[in-house]
């Protein structure tokens, strides 16, 4: 117990030393380009802070520790306030105020767009939500929730039908025989280019069977037995290819993000690469 406490104190001291040294080095480093002393002191601190926070998050990979906890708690506080400010300025001041009050529009220096009585609907619903804090009339907040759920349901029903249903169905109207020129050319060009009929045709078959059997897999009200069961099994296989492929394809993006962070550490903080 005592030993581990001592160890963590030693680590804390080491971290502090690294932090201060980095701050000092970056401060002197920035002075060269003519910026004021205050600015370079500030920037030196900021670069060091960002590097510290980056390493604190990475340390979670080893195990949970106080540095991660610090970074996590700081992140929660700062980011919650960030989104509140953005919501306040862009939605409340940007969209709401210009529709309800000329005086307030002038105060916030946003162009007044004319009074619109309908903008009191969200105002009233918003107040209803806040009444949740009172135990007596708290039930009225459900009206606001009901409004939101109704909006979501109504808007999404048509949207999903339009793009995810209708468009995906019509995209699947593919010919199962593409540009037939005879057996010879058909088998001699196994490439992905537009002249490769074999692959074009095969692709269309795969898409047709894949979508069909995939849909069969999703059937709820019919038992997956016999021919239907076989089709549904093919459907699972198609889904598995989809998942495997998407997973593999994603790796690259994830590594890029790590490259980005390590570049920050090596380049902006340590100056090892340029």
């Amino acid at each position: 117990m005592n030993g581990s406490r001592r160890l963590s104190l030693i680590i804390l001291a080491a971290v502090l030393v690294v932090f201060v040294v980095s701050w000092i080095l970056h401060t002197t480093g920035f002075q060269g380009d003519g910026a004021g002393t205050w600015l370079s002191v500030r920037d030196g601190f900021l670069v060091t802070l960002a590097a510290f926070l980056t390493l604190a998050i990475f340390s979670f990979l080893y195990k949970d520790n106080p540095y991660y906890k610090f970074a996590e708690h700081l992140f929660v506080g700062v980011s919650a306030a960030y989104w509140m400010c953005v919501g306040f300025w862009s939605t409340f001041v940007g969209n709401f105020i210009p529709r309800v009050s000329h005086t307030l529009s002038d105060f916030f220096q946003v162009p007044y767009k004319g009074f619109n009585v309908f903008y009191f609907v969200p105002l009233i619903l918003g107040i209803m939500l806040l009444l949740r804090l009172s135990s007596k009339v708290g039930w009225i907040s459900r009206w606001a929730l009901a409004f939101i759920v109704g909006t979501t349901a109504g808007l999404n029903l048509i949207r999903y039908l339009r793009t995810d249903f209708i468009t995906q169905v019509s995209n699947t109207f593919v010919p199962l025989l593409v540009d037939w020129k005879g057996i010879g050319p058909f088998f001699s060009d196994l490439s992905l280019s537009a002249s490769g009929q074999f692959m074009l045709t095969l692709s269309n078959w795969v898409i047709f069977i894949g979508v069909f059997s995939g849909l069969i897999y999703f059937f709820f009200s019919k038992e997956h037995k016999g021919l239907f069961g076989t089709a549904s099994r093919v459907g699972i296989w198609v889904l598995m290819i989809t998942f495997g492929a998407s997973f593999g394809y994603t790796v690259m993006g994830r590594v890029s993000l790590l490259v980005g962070r390590l570049t920050f550490l090596f380049q902006d903080w340590l100056g090892l690469i340029n």
Binding site: K63, S79, L155, R162, V174, F212, F218, F219, T250
Partner: protein, 411 residues
């Protein structure tokens, strides 16, 4: 045939000569404005200006089209067109818009329904503009019904009707068969495990707000989970990323506790708001996971990149994990890292499945009718496209065309 070729031969010869001439002389030789004389080349005006009311809108658009000026070519003698509009009785034409050379249409969106408008189009050239004749008058109109969306309406009616039919059909007490969904069969087992181990349940309803149906689907599942939780007095921990979701989830869990006859056991602390920021939220949830070590984790809702961070952390603490999302991009990660995954449609079916009420199950049957419609449409579309493409045939070409029209939204 003969006469045609007789005419076209000289025409072709002329064309070749023109092309040769154009290519021989550098472009500079035929300056649009000749510096020596100061004379300005004036291009021919655009012709045939028509203005028609845009169909199926609120009477706020007029579509204007015209035949390009004969001198509108790659030499840039016409640099664009001004569209001018006169409203009502006046002959005062005001600018309505400008388009680049080579474009012969414009949609004026600055009109009011019920007013009469006339249009003219000016070709813009280096020395000024050349106006066309004035178009016939047009009155933009409010159409009450958007007939362009008739196919969407029919499809919505078919699928929606099927769902509604089976919901009301089921009300009469007919029990419907529904296949097993592994992830949902496991819900009870997963909750039971938390009871045995005396550890909490973690419930994440995704990171989107209440304007996403997936979040609502997650909340409806929460109500099922909360009932069991309230009955067995298990600790539930629900960090959320949206204030509205917090409010809704509290309502849901509180009602579950009231239903179980133990309103005192409920506490608002079961659901807590963390932050709207995706990764700030994940950082906090990761912390909660390693510190409180929940026995069971539910991830039901809309997820983005955080899906795998959550699922891998949950895996490292040995939790049973049940995930469900309609985000196709995140499904692979849940499938790889969680014990059970509800794939897309299954997430929306889940609450109906767990409720075991005939009306809810009926809606699943309605969904299946939707799938059946999709499959029939795909089969017909594919056959028509194949036959029409390979062998032709009026019937199949027309059928293929109809299928495409039925499943294309024009608006």
């Amino acid at each position: 045939m003969f006469a045609k070729s007789k005419l076209s031969t000289p025409a072709l010869a002329c064309l070749i000569v023109i092309i040769l001439v154009l290519n021989t002389f550098p472009v500079a030789a035929q300056d649009i404005v000749s510096a020596d004389t100061g004379t300005v080349f004036i291009p021919a005006p655009p012709t045939g200006v028509t203005a028609v009311d845009f169909k199926y809108d609120r009477g706020e658009r007029v579509e204007i089209s015209w035949t390009l000026s004969a001198d509108d070519n790659e030499r840039g003698q016409v640099s664009g067109y001004n569209i001018l509009r006169a409203g009502g009785e006046s002959d005062d034409f005001v600018p309505a818009g400008t388009v680049a050379a080579g474009i012969g249409s414009y949609t004026d969106k600055d009109v009011e329904s019920g007013t009469t408008y006339r249009y003219l189009v000016e070709a813009i050239h280096a020395g000024g503009t050349v106006p066309s004749a004035v178009s016939a008058a047009v009155i933009p109109d409010v159409e009450l019904i958007n007939w362009n969306l008739a196919n969407l309406f029919i499809i919505a009616l078919l699928i929606g009707g099927a769902v509604i039919y089976f919901i009301s059909h089921a009300k009469r007490g007919k029990k419907l068969f529904v296949r097993k969904i592994a992830g949902l069969e496991a819900v009870d087992e997963a909750i039971g495990r938390a009871t045995e181990m005396g550890r909490p349940i973690l419930f994440i309803p995704g990171i989107n707000d209440m304007d996403d149906v997936q979040t609502i689907a997650g909340i409806t599942l929460l109500s099922r989970v909360a009932k069991v939780v309230a009955d067995y007095d298990i600790k539930i921990n629900m960090p959320v990323a949206r204030s509205l979701v917090m409010t809704t989830a509290r309502e849901t869990i509180r009602e579950a506790y009231i239903g179980a006859g133990r309103p005192d056991a409920y506490s608002d602390d079961m659901v807590r708001y963390i932050t709207d920021e995706q990764f700030g939220y994940v950082a906090a949830v990761d912390g909660i996971m390693v510190r409180e070590k929940p026995a069971t984790c539910f991830y039901l809702g809309a997820f983005f990149a955080e899906s795998l961070i959550l699922a891998e952390t949950g895996n490292s603490i040995g939790a049973i994990q049940i995930a469900g999302t309609a985000m196709p991009a995140q499904l692979p990660f849940f499938v790889a890292a969680c014990d059970y995954t509800l794939i897309g449609e299954e997430l929306f079916a889940a609450s109906a499945y767990l409720s075991n009420e005939p009306r809810q199950l009926g809606s699943l049957k309605g969904q299946d009718v939707g799938k059946f419609i999709a499959m029939i449409a795909i089969a017909v579309g594919v056959v028509a496209a194949t036959v029409a493409g390979a062998w032709g045939g009026t019937f199949f070409i027309r059928l293929s065309d109809i299928m495409h029209r039925l499943f294309t939204i024009r608006n």
